[in-house]
């Protein structure tokens, strides 16, 4: 979910209570369709402590990136289903669809925003 500013129609993910463009607090919820394209990415070999604990590392990098949603908002997310050991195969502009992840957070599980390549056709 994101938020949409009623006066200026800007969309924010994660949702904001105050619009940084027009300072309005009049927001409504905005549901996202979950489709977008890859704006930029990285394949991380030396990860955050939480990711290292999950077994990611030099031999098994993970991909994170910036995704532009069809609703005209950008998010940062994990990118699944790509060959992180061959980053040359991952291309800016590739179409993606949302693919939420459940991860162990140490004290229970949490949901992580993730995307995967949109199957062709």
């Amino acid at each position: 979910m994101g938020s949409r500013c009623l006066p200026c129609q800007a969309v924010f993910v994660p949702p904001r209570a105050l619009c940084p463009r027009c300072d309005s607090s009049a927001m409504e919820w905005q549901r996202m369709d979950g489709r977008g394209k890859l704006v930029a990415f990285t394949c991380i070999a030396i990860g955050t402590p939480a990711m290292l604990k999950q077994g990611y590392g030099r031999e098994n990098p993970y991909c994170t990136g910036v995704v532009e949603l069809e609703e005209n908002a950008r998010v940062v997310a994990r990118i699944q289903g790509v060959d992180t050991r061959n980053p040359a195969t991952i291309s800016v502009g590739m179409p993606l669809q949302v693919d939420f992840l459940r991860e162990d957070s140490g004290s229970g599980s949490r949901t992580v925003l993730a995307f995967k390549p949109l199957p062709a056709g």
Binding site: P14, A40, T42, I44, P49, P61, V66, R78, V92
Partner: protein
Amino acid sequence: MRKKRNLSRGVALVGAGMSQFGMFRDRDSKDLFLEAFRAMIASVDKGLDPADIDAFYLGNYSNDFFVRQSHWGAILSDALGLVPRPATRTEGACASSALAFREGVFAIASGFYDAVLVGGVEDMSKGATEVVAEGLGMAAIPYERDVGFTFPGVFGTIATAYFDKFGASREHLMNVTIKSHDNAARNPKAQLSATLEDVMAAKKKRAESKGRTVPNWPDPKAFLRDPRANPVVAWPIHLFDCCPISDGACCLLLVGEELARNFTDDPLYVAGIGQASGRGLHASEDLTTFEATRYAAREAFDMAGIAADEVQFAEVHDCFSIAELLHIEDLGFFPAGHGYKAVEEGQTRLDGSKPINTSGGLKCKGHPVGATGAAQIFEVWTQLRGQAGERQVPGHPRLGAAQNLGGTGGTSTVTVLERR
């Protein structure tokens, strides 16, 4: 409309000193700061009585985390013999001491003080690499950290955006790295004071002495392309695109402009200062530019009454090689998308039209985060006063700039110094 800003009283830089940068097992941030403080006093041509210092502004990112010690301004103040004069600590991640410098400038410009000590220090190498990374990660944007972004990861993401938009590649990042090493080899205070040829020779010798296969790299780029020598950290950022973990300190002495000649016949003047804030990756419309740097540069250059072209050399924040490319464009030295070509053509080398990071930059001089902003200004001081030795920018430059970034772009500052 933005208004052109001015200081109501001119401010001069009349002393500057820095400690050796490096990883020190047996020296803490007090030891390093005292080294920088003594060097600063020795640099004041006509002498300085520390009793003349009215106040102290210290940039320090996180002694709290790295060595479990807060309140470092006042505690250092006692070590320096400055008690009971006021000490104020500033924090802006890797831009902490550039913020201290600004506060010092404002304190003098307002007429409140006549002489201010500005310092920066960080002591961050004592813990394991993961602990250092965790400490730096505290300055990251929580939303980005939660999906797994690291600092190198954010800059790797910026790099893929830059490559895609402008047709640059890893080879262009290597040009930045090679230049940084060449410059640092001429800077005795630098942490990595060696050319890549020196680094390669040392690695070959080591392999030989251990009876291992001696690698055969024909040139520095072959070395940088070798994944064993230069492993990936966060694609396309590799080990040699990253600044090291560093300890170090730097001290600067600011005085009211009309008092400058009491301290030296060769003062420098604060011609322009700018500071701005930026936003995270997801909120940036264009990942190939630092909004805060562009804003801070305009503010500083407008105040100095100059165009970007008139700045003769600069220290810019190259925490990762890609950041140097963005910054030389955001400062207006080269048009957007042309920075990597300028570096490839040698324009940013010591003998080029716009020398960048003559000190070796964060990449090779080292990046003790709280000291970096002040240390950049130290390099500008050294160059403008013609004291840079083998790495001296030719032609007696008059105008130099320093640009310091906090975090992944949340803070940026630009300072222009002038020799009149």
